[in-house]
């Protein structure tokens, strides 16, 4: 008479999952001055808002700011491309129980064989258990990114407004004699009267 042996093995691991997310957009500036000059003014505006000046491998100026929650904002002032990204390592705890079955008709030590089977399937079971935790971590990271985007948008908007206003003052000076400037570059409402 044969007898089947069933052995269940439970496993638990703390794993670090790496999750990333990002969005790309563009700031568009009127070509009031040359692209280089517009880019320089925009870089200055962003520098005043805490962005650091870097250069990419094409030699273009890229303004970079590390925001809260590991969010990085990069603005290429040559192309106007804005890249907001987040990357985080999140610790998750995964658990699984795997059962192995062996018959004493076929195995000399059925208990050991059942245990061996259970342990052999443990890695795959833990990987499977990790998938929903990884998805939850990704959602957490995406939520942080969206929160940061809500702060970045008005900041970039102010930078573009300031850039446009400053470029316009420079352009006005090149057209003729500036008679008056009303309003301010900060809020982007300004009237310049130029005698030509």
């Amino acid at each position: 008479m044969s007898r089947a042996y069933r052995v269940s093995v439970s496993g638990q691991e703390d794993r670090i999952v790496h999750v990333e997310d990002g969005v790309e957009g563009k700031v568009e500036l009127l070509p009031i001055l040359s692209p280089e000059s517009m880019g320089d003014i925009l870089a200055g505006e962003l520098e005043a808002k805490g962005y650091a000046r870097t250069t990419n491998d094409k030699g273009e100026t890229v303004m970079v700011k590390l925001g809260e929650d590991n969010v990085t904002v990069e603005v290429n002032v040559a192309t106007g491309t804005v890249h907001v990204s987040i990357a985080e390592d999140i610790k998750v705890s995964v658990e699984a129980t795997v059962t192995g079955v062996a018959d004493d008709d076929y195995h000399k030590d059925p208990t050991a064989e059942a245990k061996r089977q259970a342990e052999a399937g443990m890695k795959a079971a833990l990987d499977k258990a990790e998938a929903p935790k990884r998805e939850a971590a990704r959602k957490t990271v995406t939520a942080k990114l969206e929160q940061e985007l809500a702060k970045v948008r008005p900041e970039l908007d102010q930078a573009v407004t300031g850039t446009t206003a400053k470029a316009l003052v420079q352009k006005a000076a090149s057209l003729g004699d500036i008679e008056s400037v009303e309003g301010s570059a900060e809020d982007g409402n300004m009237t310049i009267r130029v005698r030509v």
Partner: protein, 76 residues
């Protein structure tokens, strides 16, 4: 003396640039239009798409065109 009036407005992040032109009192309407267009080209370049907001107004011996608004597109 002629004047170029540059007005930039920012309402909830939507920016608009208006380029107005006041010509000399003795300028003819067609001269005024030409000069206004030249002023727009000088500010934003010839390739930029602009929108005409209105026509000439000959009040008080001075031509004064309605400004040409140029919306500045923006992505956030």
């Amino acid at each position: 003396m002629a004047h170029v009036i540059l007005t930039i407005t920012n309402i909830n992040g939507k920016r608009e640039l208006q380029i107005g032109y006041e010509s000399d009192s003795d300028a003819m309407p067609h001269e005024h239009d030409q000069d206004h267009k030249a002023a727009v080209d000088a500010v934003v370049g010839k390739g930029t798409k602009t929108t005409r907001a209105g026509g000439s107004d000959g009040g008080s011996g001075q031509l004064k065109n309605a400004p040409i608004p140029i919306p500045i597109s923006q992505k956030g």
